[in-house]
Symmetry: C2
Subunit: 343 residues, 2 copies
Amino acid sequence: MTKRSRKTIKDVAAAAGVSIGTASRALNRTGRVSEATVIRVTDAARKLGYQPDAIAQSLRLKSTKVVGMLVTDLSNPFFASVIRAAEKRLQQAGYALLVGNTDNEGTREKFLIDLFQRRRVDGLIVGPCETENPEMLEALDSGDLPVIGYDRDFGEGQSGLHVDHRRAAYEATRHLLNLGHERIALLSSSSLLSPGRERIAGHAEALAERGIALNQALIRAHKSSMEFVASEALSLMSLRPAPTAFLCLGTRMLAGTLQGLQQNGLKVPGDVSVLAVGDTDLARLYTPAISCVTWDLDLVGQMLAELMLRRLGDDQGEPQRIMIPTQFIDRQSCGAPGQCSGP
Amino acid sequence: MTKRSRKTIKDVAAAAGVSIGTASRALNRTGRVSEATVIRVTDAARKLGYQPDAIAQSLRLKSTKVVGMLVTDLSNPFFASVIRAAEKRLQQAGYALLVGNTDNEGTREKFLIDLFQRRRVDGLIVGPCETENPEMLEALDSGDLPVIGYDRDFGEGQSGLHVDHRRAAYEATRHLLNLGHERIALLSSSSLLSPGRERIAGHAEALAERGIALNQALIRAHKSSMEFVASEALSLMSLRPAPTAFLCLGTRMLAGTLQGLQQNGLKVPGDVSVLAVGDTDLARLYTPAISCVTWDLDLVGQMLAELMLRRLGDDQGEPQRIMIPTQFIDRQSCGAPGQCSGP
DNA sequence: ATGAAAGCGCTAACAC
DNA sequence: GTGTTAGCGCTTTCAT
């Protein structure tokens, strides 16, 4: 197979015996071209294996048909599924999705936004990041590209999609309260982020309805590894009186908690009830299966894409905000508070 | 904030009082420019918030600094981690990673390869896909872009990285044999793919060493949902004599198997031993913890990127192939075969 | 050391 | 209907 160089529209035009202008119009079916030449040109294109150069098109049309997306960690299944769904929807509309990991670092976030802007993405979907960078916001409105916030707010001018984390935590807490729990330990990702903040608010709200004050000693909100969460869980269990239930706000939190509990021979739900926000294989298949509040990750990705496409459309739709509802799934990890706890 | 349009190198040149050629040379520190003008130009650039247009650069330089990657499903944690690591390494070298999901469909794979070629990616990392598409291979060598196969072979001309699935399955099987198991059920993703094929080969090899023939009745190799795997597992357990151990080649397989077993009240490892290829949270935290063969996903991503960068470098390195080793992790899910099995 | 100009591949405005 | 041409923003000869 001869290593033929890539064919350009010029080659196609030559092969079809027309000018490049006509070739372009024929290929794109724009402007007036005779049906005969359309056929001749498309034929030639096919025969040559011509593929239009998206880069040249982008330069000319001032649109790359690429949207960027920033998440803390693409390998977090919660983001991965959302990305997947968003990519799918965007692709249907002819857009590609370029993903970047911020690693929860403001500097990386700023770096990526600059990078994506240099690459002239048509829009940006931006997820939460623990360490906000003021320069980032600046970088963002220096370009006039559409931004969709995902569990994050960029002001009135931009669209946003939010999972109803407040309600998720509220319902989870109510469930535990109804079972009779009053000392509920809370493990959350950083309270600085929107999701963390909202969750704690929802938790507090449910507590308040029963006249129970938020006990700071029972709350641990850090960005944290699984191992760290495990030791946090144990430290919480060594309080006296010990908590009778764990509310794990995030999938990492659940894994860590279970590990810690297991390590100390504590039984779920016998010794302590466990409730998670966010569903995973682990929650589903653990023994006992873990009750949780969950939401539709595919829907999130899809709507994120939808929101973006709406902003990208000719109609120049107004910025919108969407709230994604959550569902409670009752499984076997919660019971009434036991009388004795501790090893 | 006035919606100033994006600054071009022309603006910078004007502001610095030089020609655009000089501005370009100053910015890129290429060719001869006086130190004074370099300063003047970079100053102007900074003041204007100038960001070079990567699209225009790509068109001119014939390199997009983007590499594409094709996987069946980015939300599969096995791919997600690899992607993450690859992206990180590539970014260090100034490349972006554009990911596409093939959904295990040959037509989608072909579509994406075309798409990526149109976008003029500098290279392509291509993972396994169940339904190969002959057109795809054609599309691939019509362009002369570097391809790195990931658990997949593209012939002598291209680099490749392979996880040692054969050895993984071999070791897992040996472990079970040493425990005394002779009837080992095998659940694998499609045997058409390289990983599936290799795994079954490794399994057979270990069996052969003990003079045990491969029993086709004990092998189930389909692309399959978790629910389907669960029923497969149960159907295997209803064989007489029933298998005494399950070898789950793939993370989906493990989840499905555990679900099926659980559903029928079968205990691990009391009633049946379980061994997985591929480590997950589920394997780690399940009770009992699941023994498995695993490998370093970060390393895979890193080496994939490395292989690509080597091909992309000026030195035009020769195509290389790399084998990633696997490790056996013994946990609590395997025991000697029990005497009685079945409900 | 710097400016002028060509050209990457494409589309769109303008002639005919 | 079709050909010609300008120009997207940049880098890189080639003069000077």
